[in-house]
């Protein structure tokens, strides 16, 4: 009895290895790996790839393929994809870039990299902007802004997983010793990194309080224009109408999302449209992609 069990197990393991070593079978189903509802990465990804559409009532609809494998964490996406050569997933660029277990797929022929995000060629990326009404005049807001753009502030941005906009010539920040409250408001996606920036700033200037309100990008721009917020936040580029009204947007960091597959998967390059088709379930097998 025991011997038979062991034999069966050995057989099963050999079968698995044999199949794993076999050629990539493009007629197989694409195993789509998605994050869970509410994840910021998912929110950005579906918005940038067109998976998110608006319905007749003007509400956002998330068309992510319902048969996808839903996992709740960046590292889980990476493990799941790395174990299945037929899988595809997405994760924040910063968490994939030093990971050898998965490869990044080019999108529209462009490799996901810090350079390509900074020169605006990689499509699945969006700037995190701070919005002001013209040049800042308030001393305190100016100082906080200077901190965000300093070496120290950009380090916080990078630590949060964003591509920082600073370079080697970015100046260092020195505490000003000012007092008061900085009111910042807007995008819910930018808010977490802004809270971190606020904490780091308060650590240097203990008498300043940074009040971060997450209300949405549009509210952030409006708030900056009408003076509700000293500094607004927007997780998208500013619209022409907003710029005409006097809004000045500055990127504090860029959020890049890489499309990932297992190293054995032959896919190298997908168009943005193909990415959309895969993640909405319009295309379900690997060979259907090339038609």
């Amino acid at each position: 009895m025991k011997l038979r069990k062991i034999l069966a197990l050995v057989l099963a393991l050999t079968a698995i290895t044999a199949v794993a070593l076999a050629e990539f079978d493009a007629s197989r189903t694409i195993a789509v790996v998605s994050r869970e509802e509410g994840s910021g990465t998912r929110g950005a990804f579906i918005e940038l790839t067109g998976i998110q559409t608006k319905n007749a009532e003007g509400k956002d609809v998330d068309n992510t393929y319902i048969e996808a494998d839903f996992v709740n964490g960046t590292s889980l996406v990476i493990t799941t994809v790395s174990q299945n050569e037929y899988a595809i997933g997405y994760a924040s660029l910063s968490s994939v870039v030093h990971n050898d277990t998965v490869k990044m797929v080019k999108v529209n022929g462009v490799e996901a990299s810090t350079e390509n995000i900074l020169n605006n060629t990689y499509p699945i990326a969006r700037p995190f902007n701070v919005v002001t009404k013209g040049e800042l005049t308030d001393e305190l807001a100016k100082d906080f802004y200077a901190f965000i753009m300093s070496k120290e502030g950009q380090a916080v941005v990078a630590e949060d997983g964003l591509v920082p906009v600073g370079n080697d010539e970015t100046p260092s920040y020195t505490a000003s010793g000012l007092k008061g409250v900085v009111v910042v408001g807007g995008s819910t996606s930018v808010a977490p990194v802004m809270e971190l920036l606020g904490e780091a700033y308060t650590a240097l200037n203990p008498e300043v309080e940074v009040d971060v309100q997450s209300t949405g990008s549009s509210a952030g721009v409006t708030g900056a224009l009408d003076g509700t917020y000293m500094i607004g936040m927007a997780s998208r580029a500013l619209k022409d109408s907003e710029i005409e009204a006097g809004a000045l947007g500055t990127a504090i960091g860029i959020d890049g999302i890489a499309v990932i597959a297992a190293p054995q998967n032959p896919v190298e390059d997908l168009s943005l449209e193909q990415v959309r088709q895969i993640f909405t379930g319009e295309v379900t097998t690997w060979d259907a992609l090339n038609k």
């Binding site: 509802e37 319902i66 996808a68």
Partner: protein, 276 residues
Amino acid sequence: MRGLFLASACVCILAVGTISAFLLINGLPFFTKYPAGQFILGAEWAPLRDVFGILPMIVGSFYVTLGALLLGAPIGILTAILMSRFASRPVVKIMKPVVALLAGIPSVVYGFFGVMLLVPFVRETFGGTGKSVLVASILLGIMILPTIIQTAEAALNAVPQSYYEGSLALGATHEGSVFRAILPAARPGIISGLVLGIGRAIGETMAIIMVAGNNPRMPGDILKGVRTLTVNVLMEMGYAADLHRESLIATGVVLFIIVMAINFLFSFINRRRVQQ
């Protein structure tokens, strides 16, 4: 000394009371903002549009539990019969700690076993992604084995020896006596073991989230994914805000009520057994 006993008992009662109160206080306000009927009977889960229907998760929970029972019940009961009536003493001496060990394995380890071995196996054998009702049921079936085996074995051992001897005296074989005389007599105990197993299966989260695919739609195909109530809460709690977050706590309330109902069923069966 008596005070110490009383204090210990109070801690237990306080824990149950606080948890119940917490769930109800935090979960019930959701139903003032979202109709309970649409919540429990709604088949669509789309938090982005504020659509919260947990029927797929309720069905999913029962689906994988049923699958676990189909697998765990026969294996568990037959193992218990072996340990109670067929196996020699040394074999039982080995089996008992093995079963106890099975109960002691943390669920995340079961999850790893599932995701590393069962999921690739099912993917290569049957196609699809491998994360499926099938794998979740197999995993849960194994996880509820110790509960079923231990309760059933105790019930079988408790059957008076005279039943067995009487059956033999009437000319029945050993197998016949075990299956026709002892097994029916132990039935209430075995059933309560199954109910306990159901309770364990329906409440399991960590192992399931790793192997079930977690698709928020009506489950069907056993080779496709499924989302259970427990997974729904754990999966989205991290980033959920406002109404979405409240809907997850309300999911917890529904789960709590289901588990309570199962426990009542369990004590009802037990009470009937005592009466018999």
